[in-house]
C-alpha cells in the first residue's frame, strides 16, 4: 500500500475511534441507571447493622471493629443480554448485587432487611444466619422503603403499591393494603396507626392491627418521604415541593411550606423547630406549630439523607458527602468534614459518634462533640 493509501486508512481508523470514543462517553455516562442502595444503620447490643452496597447485611462490632457478613442477597434472574439486567435499569456489570435501600430493623433476636430483589429477610442478630425469607420462592416487586416494627409485626410498602404486615417471628403475611401506585417510603407508626406515602400523591393512615384505612391526605405530588410524628402532628415532604403538617388523627391540613425542590428526606424536630432538608440545597428551620420559617441554611449541595440530633446539634450531610453541624441553641452552622463521596442514606448516631454510609463501601465516623474524624470502617467483604 502506498503512503497516500496508508494515510487515508489511518484517517479512517482515527475517525472510527473518535466516533466510538464519543459514543462510549456519551452513552455510558448517565448516572443513576443501576440501583446501588443507600441503607442506613441501626445499633443493637454494641453492633451496628447496615445493608452494604454489595447487597449483604453487615454487622460491625463497635468495640473492636470486627465485622460479620450475611450471605449476599440473591438477585432476580436476569433476562437481559451482555450481563445486563432489566432490574438494573439497563446498567451492566452490577447485576450480581442486590441493592438495599431500607435501613435494617431489629426485633428481639432478629434483624430484618428488605432487598430491591423483592424479598424480605430475617437474620439471627448474633450469627447473621438466615431465619426466614418472604416470599420463599418467587420475588415481589422491588422494595425501596424500609421496614417498620411495631409490637410483633413488621410493616413495609413495595413497588407493587401494597403495604404488607408480617408476623415478625415467622414471616407470615398478616394483612396487605393496596394503594394506587408504587411505594418507596418507610412507614411510621404512632398510636396504633401506620402512616405511609405513595406515588399516587396520597399519604395513607392505616389501622396497624388489620390494615383498614382510617383516612388519607392527597398532596399535589408523590409522597415518598418517611413521615415524622411529633405532638400529634404529622410532618411529611412531597414531590410538589411542599412540607405538610397534618393532624395525625384525621389528616386535616395544619400548614404547608414550599421549598424550591423535593423534600426527600425525613425531617427532625428539636425544641419545636422542624429541621427540614431539601433537595434544593437548603435546610429549612420551621416552627412546628405554624410552619413559619425560622431560618434557612445553604448547604452548597442537595440533602437526601435524614439528619441526626446529637447533644444539641443537628448533623446533616449533603449528597456530595459534606457534613455540617447546626447548633440548636445558637443556630450556628459549621462544616465538620468533607468525605468527597456520595451520601444518600440516613445517618446513624450511637454514643456520640455519627456513622455515615458512603458510596465507597465505607462507614465514615465522626465524633459529634469534638468534630474529630475517626478511621472509617470498610464494609467490603473479603
Amino acid at each position: 500500500m502506498n503512503l497516500k493509501g496508508r494515510g487515508r486508512v489511518g484517517r479512517l481508523i482515527l475517525l472510527v475511534i473518535l466516533i466510538l470514543a464519543v459514543s462510549l462517553v456519551g452513552f455510558g455516562c448517565v448516572k443513576g441507571l443501576a440501583p446501588i442502595g443507600w441503607s442506613g444503620g441501626i445499633v443493637s447490643d454494641g453492633s451496628l447493622f447496615v445493608g452494604s452496597k454489595e447487597g449483604r447485611l453487615v454487622a460491625v462490632n463497635l468495640a473492636d471493629e470486627s465485622r460479620l457478613w450475611a450471605e449476599p442477597l440473591k438477585p432476580v434472574s436476569s433476562t437481559g443480554f451482555f450481563g445486563c439486567s432489566p432490574a438494573m435499569g439497563g446498567g451492566c456489570g452490577g447485576a450480581s448485587r442486590v441493592a438495599i435501600y431500607g435501613t435494617p430493623v431489629i426485633y428481639e433476636d432478629l434483624v430484618y432487611i428488605a432487598g430491591y430483589n423483592g424479598k424480605i429477610y430475617a437474620y439471627n442478630a448474633t450469627s447473621l444466619g438466615l431465619r426466614w425469607v418472604y416470599p420463599r420462592e418467587s420475588n415481589l416487586k422491588p422494595f425501596v422503603g424500609g421496614i417498620a416494627v411495631f409490637g410483633d409485626k413488621l410493616y413495609i410498602g413495595g413497588e407493587d403499591g401494597k403495604v404488607y404486615a408480617f408476623d415478625a417471628a415467622t414471616g407470615d403475611l398478616v394483612w396487605e393494603f393496596q394503594t394506587d401506585d408504587k411505594i418507596w417510603g418507610t412507614p411510621t407508626l404512632y398510636n396504633d396507626t401506620l402512616y405511609i406515602g405513595s406515588f399516587d400523591k396520597k399519604l395513607y393512615a392505616l389501622d396497624a392491627a388489620d390494615g383498614s384505612l382510617k383516612w388519607y391526605f392527597t398532596a399535589e405530588g408523590s409522597v415518598i418521604a418517611t413521615p415524622l410524628v411529633y405532638n400529634d402532628v404529622l410532618y411529611i415532604g412531597s414531590f410538589d415541593r411542599h412540607m405538610y403538617a397534618l393532624n395525625a388523627f384525621d389528616g386535616s391540613l395544619k400548614w404547608k411550606f414550599m421549598g424550591e425542590n423535593w423534600f426527600w428526606a425525613e425531617p427532625v424536630v428539636v425544641n419545636d423547630v422542624i429541621y427540614a432538608p431539601c433537595l434544593d440545597g437548603k435546610v429549612y428551620l420551621l416552627k412546628a406549630g405554624n410552619g413559619a420559617k425560622v431560618d434557612e441554611y445553604d448547604m452548597d449541595g442537595s440533602v437526601s439523607s435524614r439528619p441526626v440530633v446529637v447533644d444539641g446539634s443537628v448533623i446533616i450531610t449533603t449528597r456530595k458527602g459534606v457534613v455540617y453541624s447546626i447548633a440548636t441553641d445558637t443556630r450556628e452552622i459549621r462544616q465538620m468534614a468533607d468525605f468527597e463521596e456520595d451520601v444518600d442514606g440516613p445517618l446513624t448516631e450511637y454514643g456520640g459518634i455519627v456513622y455515615i454510609h458512603t458510596a465507597d463501601l465505607s462507614l465514615q465516623r465522626i465524633n459529634a462533640a469534638t468534630g474529630a474524624i475517626l478511621r472509617p470502617v470498610s464494609l467490603e467483604s473479603q
Binding site: K31, P35, G89
Partner: protein, 303 residues
Amino acid sequence: MNPWELIIQQPVINVLIVMSHYLGDSFGMAIIALTIIVNILMLKLTFSQIRSSKAMQDLQPKIAELQKKFGKDKQKLSQEQMKLYKESGVKPAGCAVTMIIQMPVWIALYQAIMLSLAVAPEGLLNLSKYLYPWPIVYSVLPLNREFLLLDLAQPNFILAILVGVTMWLQQKMSMTISTDPRQAQQSQMMLWMMPMMFALLALSFPSGLALYWVANSIVRVVLQYRVTGWGGLRRKPAEPTGDADKKYLKFDASEEKKSTDEVGADIVISDSEPSRKDIYHPSKPTKTRYQPGKDRSKGRRKK
C-alpha cells in the same frame, strides 16, 4: 452542573417532562414527539448527509471505471479519485462530519430519556437537580412509564424486534452499492450487524430507549425516502458476471424500458452465445446505453 448538563441535558429533560404533561401524561408520546421535533430541527444536516451519501453512490460507476483503468497504479488511482470527487463537488468525509455534528444531539436525547425514566431510585434522585422551578414539572413527576401496555422502564421483546427491523430498513435504503467486492461485503455485514446489535441492546435496556430508536429510525426512513426513494431497497439488476455464462439472456425491461421506448430501439433476444459487450451492464450505464444515431451496433437487427 457542568456546561453540557446546563446547556443541553437540562433543557431537553424539562421539555420532555412538559411534553409528557401536555400529551396526556404519556412519556411514550413525549419520546416520539421530541424525536420528531429534533429530527425536524436537524433536517438540513440530515438531508445534507443523505445527499452526500447519494452523491457518493452515484459516483460508484465512475470510480469503478477508474479502478479498472488505474488499478495497478494506486497513487494515480487515488489522484484520479480525488479529482473526480472535486469535479463532482462531493466530499467523501461529508457524511461522517455531518454524523459527528449530529451525534451530541442524539447523545443528549438518549441521556435525557434515560434520566427522565429514572429506572433506579438513584435515577429519580439525580433527576431532581435537572428540574426547572416550573410547577408543571413537579406535578408530573415521577413520569407515567406505561405506554401502549408497555412498561417503558422494562425491556420489551416486540419493541426490540422493531428496533432491528426499522434500523435494517433505514440502513438498507441508505446503503451505498459498491463495485469493490470487499467493500460490498463490508456493507452487507454492517447492514445486518448494526440492527442485530441494537435489537440485542434493546432487550437489555428500558424499552423507553427502544421506543426512541424505533421512532428515530422511522423518521430517518421517511427522510431517506424523500431524497433517494427506496434506495437500496429496490431490487438489484442482474449481475453481469453471472449472466455472461448463461445461454439465454432475459432483458430486464423495467430498468431500460423508458430509454428504449423513447428512442424506439429494439429489444433483442438472442439464442446465440452472447458477447460481454452485448450484455446490459448496470454499473456502466453511460457507456452501454443506446444513443440515437451513434451506437446502433451492427449485431443488432430490427424487430
